[in-house]
């Protein structure tokens, strides 16, 4: 593989292990580890996004698809869509950090970002991973260049989250040359401008399969554009399949194996959504600061007021944490993939399997990043005051565009259930030593107060919080399991609360590791890490209390609350002061930078 890049590889870790193990700062990949080439690629993407995508925002938002397609073609010319394509088909076959960087930098316009990632991710990956040589020869180069646009059609009007329940049918024609598809699809991104659709249907009502269908195929109708709250420039239409004849050569992968395609694609889409959320939040942040600096109220810049600085500080800390989280997770995936032999015949299967190992981390990224983006765009709109509510300023567009992120790529509810559920499932399968870890913590806390661990360094207190968070997570998981056993999966609220703790453990740890790893003067990074840690631990405490109150009562609850209070005890940081310092620095920079 001629590609480049991560000269700094992260340590190979097991998916989900973050909850039960500690690793060193040197073991994770951070933004500060980007290679020269990665930085240049990020720059090219940012320049393209700022100069060409942003310049065309109005046309994109008005659904002028020729403009959007033109921009996709330009992105193709620059090579931005070849990153996951094998060299054999003219691709660059690069690492996942690079493709996350591109998703990050390109996200100045939500509509375009979705069109781009729907094309490059769910649009192209099924073909790359499951396509036959003939299928790839026929379609892949055209997609990578942007000449053709791809679309992925899984959801239907009555099956979104329960994807396996789709009703679109496929039957083999009597002459065995075609599959005849009947059914409908809903919420299909890029449908209004796509040339190639990956459509999921059940052969003979049971074999869940995927088909490559070219636009214009008789029997395939693209319905009207949805009038959406946000990402209005992204094409979203229903599809109708009425006796749509698809040549058998266009069956993608094996009949009955389509669910593999569907699930494996999701993991990649989830971490890319995270990267796009970071990009979108940085764009919103910049606009908010610019407005706030120039806007005068009571004789001062609006950015000098405490309640505004609070929003700026929280937003900056969230962006910092998001970068730490996403590049750690994607870097870990790259470390795992780097071990593979690229020439192996089943390489795409192996790649998917390895990515799947980080399914929990990918779900965490999706949930956390979508909710982080929501906070940031809300804060930034608020800073604009009345001007945040009108179309003259980009704040309202960022706000509207953000909302979809909690819904698609698996709702945040589903992803929280996956976070907790798959941790437990892996424990049961023996893939993750969760049960012994829980047992250790239970034993430790039940034995009574123990001396606090000693932590050192600038973030000693925060390391203490992290250690407590991990123990609380394991403790609450243990308590919940004790109460509900195999029935825990049905207690969604408890699963969700446990997920909140698990999520914060991963994010907080990533923040601490990134900050400690950073070379050179980094006082602002330390402040943001402390700010984030305070916020993070509050979430952990709230979730833990909720779980314990739901799984115990009476004396048992009192005992557990004693343990909880012991584990949660800490001296709080002065986040008011930290917030002011962070906000002042960011305001001076005019954008997120440190």
């Amino acid at each position: 593989m001629a590609t480049a890049v991560a000269t700094v590889a992260a340590k190979r870790v097991n998916g989900g292990s973050f909850l039960i193990e500690d690793i060193l700062p040197a073991d994770i990949f951070t933004l500060e580890d980007l290679s020269e080439e990665q930085k240049q690629i990020a720059q090219t993407t940012a320049d393209f996004a700022e100069k060409e995508v942003l310049a065309n925002v109005d046309a994109i938002e008005e659904k002028q698809f020729d403009v959007t397609r033109g921009l996709l073609k330009r992105a193709g010319d620059l090579g931005l869509m070849s990153v996951d394509v094998p060299e054999e088909f003219g691709g660059l076959e690069m690492d996942k950090v690079t493709s996350a960087l591109i998703a990050d930098k390109i996200s100045v316009c939500g509509s375009f970002s979705v069109a781009f990632s729907a094309h490059v991710g769910i649009g192209m990956l099924p073909l790359i991973w499951y396509g036959t040589q003939e299928q790839k020869n026929k379609y892949l180069a055209k997609l990578a260049s942007g000449e053709w646009v791809a679309s992925y059609a899984l959801s239907e009007s009555s099956s979104g989250s329960d994807a396996m329940n789709i009703r679109t049918q496929a039957v083999l024609s009597p002459d065995g040359k075609h599959y005849i598809l009947n059914g409908e699809k809903m919420w299909i991104s890029n449908a209004g401008m796509a040339n190639l659709f990956t459509v999921f249907a059940k052969i003979d009502g049971e074999k869940f399969s995927a088909f490559l269908i070219e636009a214009g195929t008789p029997g395939l109708t693209v319905g009207a554009e949805e009038h959406k709250l946000g990402i209005r420039g992204s094409s979203t239409c229903p599809l109708v399949l009425a006796d749509c004849k698809v040549p058998v050569e266009n069956l993608l992968g094996e009949a009955g194996n389509g669910h593999r395609i569907a699930f494996n694609i999701l993991n990649v889409g989830r971490y890319k959504l995270g990267a796009a959320a970071i990009g979108g939040s940085k764009y919103a942040f910049r606009n908010g600061i610019r407005y706030g600096k120039d806007r005068i109220a009571f004789g001062k810049s609006v950015t000098s007021f405490g309640l505004i600085q609070e929003k700026i500080a929280e937003s900056a800390a969230l962006i910092y944490a998001g970068e730490a989280l996403i590049y750690r997770v994607v870097g870990a995936i790259d470390a795992s993939l780097a071990e593979l032999d690229k020439s192996a015949p089943d390489i795409t299967m192996q790649v998917q399997k390895r990515i799947e190992e980080y399914a929990v981390e990918c779900s965490i990224v999706k949930v956390w990043a979508s909710e982080m983006l929501e906070r940031v765009v809300d804060h930034m709109l608020q800073i604009h005051g009345g001007y945040g509510y009108v179309e003259e300023f980009p704040a309202e567009r960022s706000y509207r565009d953000a909302r979809i992120n909690k819904i698609f790529e698996g709702t945040n509810e589903i992803n929280r259930l996956i976070t907790t559920g798959w941790m437990i499932k892996r424990a049961m399968q023996g893939r993750l030593a969760l049960l012994p870890a829980i047992q250790r913590v239970m034993d430790e806390v039940m034995a009574g107060p123990s001396p606090k661990d000693e932590h050192t360094g600038d973030l000693a207190a925060q390391r203490g919080l992290l250690a407590s968070a991990k123990k609380l997570g394991l403790f609450c998981a243990g308590a919940a399991s004790q109460k509900f056993g195999n029935g825990l999966g049905d207690q969604q609220e408890i699963m969700g609360a446990l997920a909140d703790i698990i999520i914060e453990v991963l994010v907080l740890e990533s923040v601490i590791l990134r900050t400690e790893k950073m070379a050179g003067a980094k006082p602002l990074a330390i402040k943001m890490a402390k700010y984030y840690a305070a916020r993070s631990f509050r979430i952990v405490e709230t979730a833990a209390e909720r779980v314990l109150a739901a799984v115990a009562e009476g004396d048992m609850l009192r005992t557990q609350m004693t343990i909880f209070r012991r584990l949660a005890k800490h001296e709080p940081e002065n986040t008011v002061l930290l917030g002011r310092e962070i906000a002042t620095a960011m305001t001076e920079n005019g954008r997120y930078a440190f």
């Binding site: 001629a2 240049q40 090219t44 620059l78 070849s82 660059l92």
Partner: protein
């Protein structure tokens, strides 16, 4: 044929200027390849793409971080790069000695460099190099073509524009409108890794600074910032005319 394009690393135009201890502080600021130099590099690449057998060499002089703009130049398509690494602050006449030295050493036929650049606001580099090489020059060039051994094009002059032709070898400085520089594409970014980036020492070129910079300061002119109420445009117009007449005294 060999073309030398000079690239300078400057503060991004969108960044604000910070002064520390009486000098401009570039630490941690966004630094980019000067746009004026980009036009030169892009033109060199277009000359090569028009079919001529051309080697494009990019050169820069400055501290270690200048390497970044040379890498960008390589990623845009330059064939190789030369970095004269030095922390010494050199004035433009001194820099021209180094660049002329490189041009002579590399036996180039054409030197392209930026016109008005974004940090030292100087116009002099191209002309000074041309004098050292004893070559003709054309500055503020906004159209350029190579026909065999002759350069033809258009450039800005004191009152308007002129079309010109001159024989190689020559020095050309760029003006906005010359071309639209390309972004480094991803394949080219990857190819650039294998291209040569040679480090030369300043001593090889014997240039000493002739001008000393004593201090740098930002002087923001105090502005009145008077916002006139424009709800009634006629009243606002009357107020403005009154101010221009009686306060600013710029009209009768």
């Amino acid at each position: 044929m060999r073309v030398l394009t000079l690239v300078r690393q400057v503060l991004d135009a969108e960044e604000s200027v910070r002064i520390k201890d009486g000098a401009v502080d570039l630490d941690g600021r966004k630094l980019v390849l000067d746009t004026m130099d980009e036009y030169g590099l892009e033109q060199a690449l277009r000359i090569r793409e028009s079919g001529a057998e051309v080697e494009v060499v990019a050169a820069a002089i400055g501290p270690a971080r200048c390497q970044d703009v040379l890498r960008t130049a390589l990623a845009m398509g330059a064939d190789r790069a030369i970095h004269v690494e030095t922390d010494t602050k050199l004035d433009v006449i001194a820099v021209s000695k180094v660049m002329a030295g490189i041009a002579a050493r590399e036996a180039v036929d054409l030197v392209l460099c930026g016109g008005q650049q974004a940090d030292w606001d100087s116009q002099a580099l191209g002309a000074a190099i041309a004098e050292r090489m004893q070559w003709p020059q054309v500055t503020w060039t906004n159209a350029l073509q190579l026909n065999g051994n002759e350069l033809v094009g258009k450039h800005d002059v004191d009152e308007g524009s002129a079309s010109f032709s001159l024989p190689l070898p020559a020095v050309i400085t760029t003006q906005q409108g010359l071309n639209e520089p390309r972004y480094p594409t991803l394949p080219n970014i990857m190819k650039a890794k294998k291209k040569e980036l040679r480090k030369d020492a300043l001593e090889q070129y014997g240039a000493t600074p002739l001008v000393k910079v004593i201090a740098e300061s930002v002087q923001v002119k105090e502005r009145l910032n008077k916002r006139l109420d424009t709800k009634d445009v006629h009243a606002a117009a009357a107020e403005l005319v009154n101010l221009l007449r009686n306060e600013a005294r710029v009209i009768a």
